[in-house]
Amino acid sequence: MRTLIKNIFLIIIITLNSFTVFAKDNLVTDLSESTVEISSTFSGADILLFGAYDGQKNDDIIVVVSGQKGNIKVDKKEKKFGIWMITESIKFSNVPKYYYIASNRKIEEITNKTEIKKRKLNFNNFELNNNKIDYKNLDKKWYEALKRNMKKKQFWKIEENSIKLNKNTLFRKTLSLPSNVSTGMYIVKILHYRKGNLISQEESKIKIDKTGISANIYNIAQNFSAIYGIIAVIIALFFGWFTNFIFRRI
């Protein structure tokens, strides 16, 4: 109920806002949340993206959400001695760990190839590196495998036709972050196209962070790992003794 009221409130604010600022800027957007906290009960998050734009008929909106970049290892398995084992691996670096594209219709219909390449409106134009020296001759199947698996894990996702435009002035889109999303600063780009040309754009940020006990545990495990191990043992020792103590009395 609280979020509903909040959302309605937001719509009103944005609508009012948009009327006043149209003269200078023809795209105004806002997010229902600018920070996502991964707590111990985290199971994914929905963020509502609101926008108002000074639109004409047949204008288009594309939303791109990109997460932190990192290293991803692609392993290839082959059957050896009757079992499937990893025989070759390639490490890709500079890979966006999260990349989401949404639009109101097919992106190829919205704009041209150069623009798609420039704005990275598909998964084929990232500037990736890998640990094999001969990048040019790297078999395409490795990148295809990376792409396929990132999509399967919902880390890379494209949803064309998923943004509903309302009377050429308003749009909204729910951004669903999966439960295994990585932490960091996420950049939300909202692109407004008219006849294939970008006429305005907006950028927002979402901070995804671990909080609470979950974050503390992670930090201790990373930074004070020996102490963490000792604490883990002490907790187990205590519970072992405690149950013995309890059950002796029953």
């Binding site: 991964i38 707590s39 111990s40 009960t41 985290f42 199971s43 990192g70 290293n71 991803i72 290892k73 692609v74 392993d75 290839k76 398995k77 082959e78 059957k79 009757g82 079992i83 499937w84 084992m85 990893i86 691996s89 490490k91 760990k97 199947k141 490795w142 495998a145 990376l146 396929r148 698996n149 990132m150 399967k152 894990k153 439960s179 295994n180 990585s182 671990k210 006990i213 979950s214 545990i217 992670y218 495990a221 790992s225 020996a226 963490y228 191990g229 000792i230 604490i231 883990a232 043992v233 907790i235 187990a236 020792l237 519970f239 072992g240 003794w241 149950t243 013995n244 059950f247 002796r248």
Partner: protein
């Protein structure tokens, strides 16, 4: 209820994991063996990365071992001298095990080795347990029980550094228990198991220890091996998920207590027969995953 695991970095259904820990605990309590060799593969089936599963199960293992030792100690069934030699070997072994773990991790074959070790061990234990309990059931039906010699003297008793173990009424070389400790330690680190199913027969048949002292003494050494593994895994690989371990251990310690209270309800051999089926089933599922064509021969993982 979903709880986010901070190290495995994924949410997990806490009640299901608690339930698994509890059921495995009941089996542990009824049969008197550790449950690591069931818990680790079950956690892997659940989608926990195998390095995290192994390290966290080693952590949880400390708890049921402590409560087990405490009750065996009360009844005077722990040979601390033998236990100490075993644990020295165990601590050395688990340190070697974590080293092997790191090397395998670096060359990217850790997952395969963990699964293969499980397939081999589950097959051996499952079959042995099946044959043994089946024989016993047949024998009791026919009404004749055979009994072997208590302990035989062989070349193992000719080794140097002989010591007297008053509690166990033994005069043997310390080399043998030390080696047994090392082997069990390596397994504990690599597979997240206490190694009860190896150390118990080894203590009875190789060392010739009285059966009454075996479980208490092996549990005593497992505490230290599991603790050493936990600290080493945590400090070198950051793979110990304390939340996962905690959920599992709460389930298992309660299960163990319930299981041991009801252990006389069912005949030991029937219970072992049943357990051997579960073990073989888990092993079969693991081997099936290894030999069937993967849906995608490529897989990805996020690395640092």
């Amino acid at each position: 209820m979903y709880i986010y695991l901070p190290i495995a970095e994924q949410p997990i259904n806490a009640f299901i994991v608690l339930g698994i820990g509890w059921l495995v605990g009941i089996i542990m309590g009824m049969v008197g063996i550790g449950g690591g060799f069931l818990l680790t593969p079950l956690m892997i089936f659940f989608g926990i990365p195998s390095p995290v599963a192994v390290a966290s199960v080693a952590n949880q293992l400390v708890a049921p071992s402590v409560s087990g030792v405490l009750s065996h100690w009360k009844s005077g069934n722990v040979d601390f001298k033998m236990g100490t030699i075993l644990l020295v070997g165990g601590v050395i072994g688990s340190s070697i095990g974590v080293l092997i773990f790191n090397i395998l991790n670096a060359i990217g074959q850790l997952d395969l080795v963990i699964k293969l070790s499980y397939v081999i061990f589950l097959a051996i234990i499952g079959l042995l347990m099946f044959v043994e309990s089946f024989k016993l059931i047949i024998q009791t039906k026919r009404g004749k029980a055979t009994r072997g010699k208590l302990h035989q003297h062989n070349w193992l008793h000719g080794l140097p550094f002989k010591t007297r173990f008053r509690k166990s009424k033994l005069y043997i070389s310390i080399i043998l228990p030390l080696i047994i400790g090392v082997i069990v330690g390596i397994l504990a680190a690599l597979m997240g198991i206490g190694g009860g199913f190896i150390i118990v027969p080894a203590m009875i048949y190789l060392l010739g220890m009285p059966t009454s002292l075996v479980i208490g003494t092996s549990l005593f050494q497992i505490i230290f091996v599991a603790a050493n593994t936990t600290i080493l895994q945590a400090s070198q690989n950051q793979t110990v998920d304390i939340v996962l371990a905690l959920i599992l251990l709460i389930g298992s310690v309660i299960g163990v207590q319930i299981g041991s209270k009801f252990s006389n309800l069912m005949k030991g051999e029937h219970l072992r027969l049943f357990l051997s089926f579960i073990i073989l089933l888990v092993g079969f599922k693991l081997i099936l995953d290894l030999v069937t064509i993967p849906l995608d021969i490529f897989s990805i993982s996020v690395i640092k």
